[in-house]
């Protein structure tokens, strides 16, 4: 299986809405061994000026990896998920993610580079919070590179 070189520049529009719940923030915070009260206690979060529980800095990976799945599961992309290695990751927060946010992610394929028999694919998710009407507020930009290992790599 080979990676489709025409992937570069492709975009996948925002699909399903991700509703950020308090219990999901608490569960994710425990899973990364976070103890800051602003992840668990609404009063602690509002005391810091947030409207509700604050998500840990890497929480957006949930939304970003759902967006990435559109690419990985696209039969036209030619990606074998069992040979995928996460190479790098970045989160740029335009504002913190808080409980009650309704988030959508637009996926952009920014780079495809052949590496041996495999390929390095760089994707970017632009994550927005839905407001009233058509309003969308930029919340987080995530970028990640995955290495799809070729045979023998």
């Amino acid at each position: 299986m080979t990676i489709n070189p025409d992937l570069q520049g492709r975009s996948y529009p925002a699909a399903e809405v991700y509703d950020v719940g308090r219990e999901k923030i608490r569960e994710f915070a425990r899973a990364v061994k976070a103890t800051n009260p602003a992840h668990f206690d609404v009063d602690a979060a509002t005391a810091l000026g947030h409207t509700d529980l604050v998500a840990p800095p890497t929480f957006a990976i949930i939304i970003a990896q759902r967006a990435d799945a559109q690419l990985i599961e696209d039969p036209d992309a030619g990606i074998d998920f069992s040979r995928v290695v996460h190479a790098d990751q970045r989160f740029t927060h335009h504002r913190p993610i808080v409980a009650g946010d309704r988030l959508v992610a637009e996926l952009h394929v920014d780079g495809v580079r052949a590496m041996g028999g495999g390929a390095m694919i760089t994707t970017r998710s632009e994550i927005f919070a839905l407001g009233s009407g058509d309003a969308r507020e930029p919340v987080t930009t995530t970028t990640s590179s995955i290495l799809v290992r070729g045979e023998g790599q």
Binding site: A31, V32, A34, T35, N36, H86, Q89, P96
Partner: protein, 145 residues
């Protein structure tokens, strides 16, 4: 007490912490994140794809390492940017039923750079497991008052 910009200088140490990791932690992270790749919980699958054994999610390592920064900053919302490269996998041995961790990750942080105009400090994290750097260029930018 949260740090303030004026009391910081480049090179300053912000502390360190040790993270103990078990196979149970990886199952919890899989459930919390939705990343169910079996290389993070199934030994036979992991060795079948030429890994030395079950490895931690890179995102588990990244997500737990940044806790040093959020605790130092006092507010998790103050971390405005966080990036890393994943260089070595963290091998987590099966210690189920014992009090021993399957791996240990050592995290330490220093102030890498201060940006007075933006009011931000870049914290550079050194993240080591089994004597090897598992994250490279692990940098968190913190907005300070």
């Amino acid at each position: 007490m949260s740090p303030t910009f004026n009391e910081l200088s480049a090179g300053q140490d912000i502390g360190s912490r040790t993270i103990e990791v078990t196979r149970t932690d990886l199952v919890k992270y899989a459930g919390a994140s939705g990343d169910f790749n079996p290389i993070h919980w199934n030994e036979a699958f992991a060795t079948g794809v030429e890994l030395p054994g079950v490895i931690a999610h890179g995102m588990f390592t990244m997500g737990s390492a940044v806790q040093l920064v959020t605790d130092w900053a006092g507010d998790p919302g103050a971390v405005v940017d966080f990036q890393t490269r994943f260089t070595k996998p963290v091998l987590v041995t099966d210690t189920t039923g014992t009090p021993e961790p399957g791996a240990t990750i050592e995290v330490s942080g220093t102030i890498g750079k201060l940006d007075a105009d933006a009011g931000t400090a870049r914290v550079d994290l050194a993240v080591v497991s089994a004597g090897q750097k598992v994250l490279m260029k692990a940098q968190a930018v913190v907005k300070l008052s």
